[in-house]
Structure formats: structure tokens, C-alpha cells
Symmetry: C2
Subunit: 322 residues, 2 copies
């Protein structure tokens, strides 16, 4: 069995691991902060060291190539990052830079696509025919896997489910649109909605979790307070679940998938999120489509993107099972 | 060249035509009111006569089979109509009934899928790699054609784009959900929104078009008045365009298609609808995805479903170009 290095480039962290071509194991998992403010060359140097260290962890296995998951938009055919606000890269030939640096063939795909592809290959959506996934963090990414292949659309920008309008006159989104799912259910949007309530005087213990500094309020804090029984935090999680439920119901009526997988920090909210989310989906989507679909949290927090980047490499080289 | 009979079963009309396997011509186009209230046997008898008459119009061409487009939900593999509110059929083995009646092999697919497949094969989306279409009439149907194949989802109910939520607390839809695209932009929804304005006292000539009987107000009347310069009718068309624009922007951000095709009576509104619709899409969707996509009216009013039903037969038998 040959091995493939998977690289997951995030705005905050770089994660690299080496994955068996048959998906049976991930070895040499290493991670470092991205520090994109130091510029592309510094980030590339860091990636190079992480790849070396990961391959060393694979103890002499044959390495077939490198799969890279990066924020986009990308041109996957040319292996170029067209533009990433978070990393500050423009028309950056990431695939060829990585290939030259490592001496290995490389392939590039979108980070959210890779995360969902990883969940399809080795995680919560294993074996599913039609998978639509959301990665919820600073933003909301999306990925679509149909018949074992990532669906890219005609110019590599498909799957932007976080930027579908669920309220036409709603909150302004960073993308310029109004009422996007991301403007309500991303980590920062959840924290902002919670802070708005506190500022308007609702009764809650949330302030205590951040020493009274609402600037420190995060979605994670909201989930923690909800688990601890804070009623207002539970209301915020419940509202988030309903809004996500509307988005997931749309996905289900459009794609009739067998699995919708939800990845990212939001899954820490557990049943407090998934129970009302599933109820909202039942209320909104077609019964036949709901019946056919499992709505599940991701099973590979931290490594879905690494598995998926490796799987994307394997798929493009048609050498393995992904 | 062999020919295929295409049957388009609508709640109001049955349309049948005979289509050359290479798509080069449609002959023997015949149509009759469905009269579903007379029961399934009466409708089947009518379909049988229309098929005979269409084949006669094909003057001795070899007939390879029959493609059927029907309202759903369906089980396409078994060729069964599971349930259609408009026709009153339940678990109706439509494919085998048509096959037995005509002595020809038959295939069944969803009516909206067939309409969009017809537009992909011979109409406005010819040659496109990723097509998403809406059929706007009494309801809003949807169809998805990827790499020349109808996308069905895992249980044959994909493509229900008319039943995606665009406003979570919005108008009640017939499907039970709130704020569906169909609840705003179907023909009856357009007429209802226009009537609400008239009842609340806006200045408009719309009442004159229906002799003061608002029960007779239809979307077609609204388009006519808009073309004639009625400002309120133009406002209704403009609002419809914006709501459709939000729905189309969602489709574009999700699928990154090269063509979005809009079929049905709503296209009669012409530039009054398509200009503000395209503007709204530009405002809402990602630039890269908008740039890659044409938004066009269907080119085969009345026959897209017949072409598409024939194409669905051809695709399933892999005997032709569709």
C-alpha cells in the first residue's frame, strides 16, 4: 500500500498527515499555526517542514503524492489559488510550488470540498451516493460529493451553500449579499447574535463566561453555557438550529442526498443543536426526501480535510479506492 | 434514424409528439385536455389515442419506444407514479400500462426533469455541462442536468427548487412549508400578490383587464398590463423578478452551472422579468459563478417536455445522442 500526504491549509492552522491509499490509516499527523501575516514564502516553508515531518512519521512507506486542500476560489485544473482573503494570496501557483518543494506530484482542491470528501471516504458519510456537507467555523463552507466524485461546477466555485439566501431582507453577509446562511449560523454570527441579546438586556449567565467582555464571546462559549443550562444560550443555539434547518431542508429538497454531514465547531453543541435542526428539517422538507437522508455530525474533526485532500489526489490519479 | 414517442402529462393538457432519435425533428405533435376528473382509465385511453395519432403523423418511421413525463413523486426504476395530487393517481404503474397499451418499450421520468432535459437536448441549454432549470406555472418545478444526465437524487425526488425556503417566516406554501420560492413566484402566487395590492387600494388598471372580477386575475394578465405600461403591474413583475433572482442566485452559488433556464408562462413577461432578475442575481451571487452562467428563457414552450421525455427514453436505452 502506497501513502499520500494530505495538507489542509486553514486561515488559523496548517494540518498535515500521511494517509494509506486504501484509507486504512493516517500517520504522521502534524500541525502548526499558519501565520499567514508572515507572507506566502514563510507559509510555504512551514508547509515544507510539516510535510517532511509527516513523511518521517510514515517510517519509510512509499509516498505516491501530495493532496492539498486550500481556501479558494481556485483553478483546480491549473492548481492555482486565484484569491484568498484570509491568506492574502492572489494567483498563487500553490500546486506547482508544493510539487517542486516536495519532489512529488501534487493536486489541489477546495478546503471545504476536501473536508466533505474526507467524511465521504472515511467518516460519517462513508459509502453514501449523494453527500452534501457544511463546514461551519469562521465562515460556512460547503461540499458536494456525488457518486464518489467532488462536484465542482463549471468554474470550480460550486458548493457555496453558506452563501445561499435564506432571508432576502436579512443580515448583511461578508460576501456582499443579504440574508446568507453564513450571516446567521457561522461561529462569529452565533456569537454576534448572542452579544446583541445581552446588550439589549436579556437575563443570562453568558457574560460571566467571558469576564464581562462581550468581545471575547465565541460560539464555543455559547455552546458551553447552553450545556450548563443557561436558558438564553439555549435559545441562541435553538435559533441557530432552526436557521441551519432551513438551509439543510433546502439542500435536501434540491439534492435528495442520502447524507447531509455537518462539520466544524458547531457540532460541539451536540443534541442541543441536532435535535431542533432535524425537527426543523422535518417541518420544511419533503417527507420522501427527509426519509432518505441521515443528518449527521462529521466524524473526523481535525483530519477530514487531510483525508479528503489525499482522496482528491487519489481520485485524480485514479490509483486507489477514493 | 428511429423515432421515439414523447408524452408530456400535465394537470391541464396532454401533449404527445414523435421525435427523431438524433433530435433533428419533432413530428405528429398532438394535444388534448387531460380531464383527470374522469379517472385514470379515461386518461389512459386518451393517451393511447394521442400516441396512435402522433405515430400516424410520423408516416411509417420506425418507432423505438415511448418516453413519458409525469408529475410525481415517481419511482422511475419501477416506472410507477407514487402519488399525484393533480391527477389523483396513487401507486399507478404508468410505464407498464403505456408499454402494454402501445406494444412498445417505455420509460418514465418526472415532468419538470423532462422539460429541462428537453431544453438541454434541443433548446436553450443545448450543449451545457451543468443545467439547472425552473418550470414556472401552477407550481414551480425544477430539473437538474449534469454531464448530459438527469440528476435524480437517491430516491427520485431531487430538484424541488420551487420548494426551497427563501424567507423563513414567509408565506405558507401548498407543500406545508413557509416561505418557499413557489409561494411567491408561481403563476397563482403572482396573481394573488397582485390581487392583495388591488384590495388594499393601489392605483392600477389591472381591474379593467378582468372586468372588475379579481378571481379572474392571472399572472398572464399581470404581464399583459405590465407590457401595456401599468405601473403597479410592473411593480408586481419586478418583485417577482427579485424573488426569483434570490432563488436563482442560490442555484448559481450551489451548482456553478453554465446555464439556468426558466420555462413556463412567466417567460411571457420577457425583459420586464429577466432584466431585474439578472440584476438581482448579480447583486447576490458570487461574481465568478455569475460570469460562468447564462440565465435564459426556455426555447421550446409546449414541446420541451415531449423532447425531454423522448431523450430520457433514449438515455436509458443508450441508443442515441441524448
Amino acid at each position: 500500500v502506497r501513502y499520500i500526504v494530505g495538507i489542509d491549509i486553514g486561515g488559523t492552522n496548517l494540518v498535515v498527515g500521511t494517509v494509506a491509499e486504501d484509507g486504512s490509516e493516517l500517520v504522521g499527523e502534524v500541525s502548526e499555526p499558519t501565520h499567514s501575516e508572515e507572507g506566502a514564502d514563510a507559509v510555504m516553508g512551514r508547509i515544507g517542514r510539516l510535510v517532511k515531518s509527516s513523511i518521517a512519521g510514515a517510517r519509510g512507506k512509499e509516498i505516491a503524492g501530495v493532496g492539498i486542500g486550500s481556501p479558494g476560489p481556485l483553478d483546480t485544473a491549473r492548481g492555482v489559488v486565484l484569491f484568498t482573503p484570509n491568506l492574502g494570496w492572489t494567483n498563487f501557483p500553490l500546486r506547482d510550488r508544493v510539487s517542486k518543494m516536495t519532489g512529488l506530484p501534487a493536486e489541489l482542491d477546495n478546503d471545504a470540498n476536501c473536508a466533505i470528501y474526507g467524511e465521504w471516504w472515511r467518516g460519517a458519510a462513508r459509502g453514501a451516493r449523494a453527500v452534501v456537507g457544511l463546514t461551519i467555523g469562521t465562515g460556512i463552507g460547503g461540499g458536494i460529493v456525488l457518486d464518489g466524485k467532488i462536484y465542482h461546477g463549471v468554474s470550480d466555485v460550486a458548493g457555496e451553500i453558506g452563501h445561499t439566501t435564506i432571508d432576502p431582507t436579512g443580515r448583511r453577509c461578508k460576501c456582499g449579499n443579504y440574508g446568507c446562511l453564513e450571516a446567521y449560523a457561522s461561529g462569529p454570527a452565533i456569537a454576534a447574535r448572542a452579544a446583541e441579546g445581552i446588550e439589549s438586556g436579556v437575563e443570562t449567565s453568558l457574560g460571566k463566561y467571558v469576564g464581562g467582555d462581550l468581545g471575547k464571546l465565541t460560539a464555543q462559549v455559547v455552546y458551553q453555557a447552553a450545556h450548563d443550562g443557561d436558558l438564553y444560550a439555549r435559545e441562541v443555539v435553538n435559533d441557530t438550529a432552526k436557521l441551519l434547518g432551513a438551509g439543510v431542508a433546502n439542500i435536501i429538497n434540491i439534492f435528495n442526498p442520502d447524507v447531509v454531514v455537518i462539520c466544524g465547531g458547531v457540532t460541539l453543541a451536540g443534541a442541543l443543536l441536532f435535535d431542533p435542526l432535524r425537527r426543523e428539517v422535518h417541518r420544511r422538507a419533503f417527507k420522501d426526501a427527509v426519509k432518505a437522508c441521515r443528518i449527521v455530525p462529521g466524524e473526523l474533526p481535525g483530519t477530514a480535510g487531510v483525508f479528503g485532500a489525499a482522496a482528491a489526489f487519489i481520485h485524480k490519479h485514479r490509483g486507489g479506492s477514493a
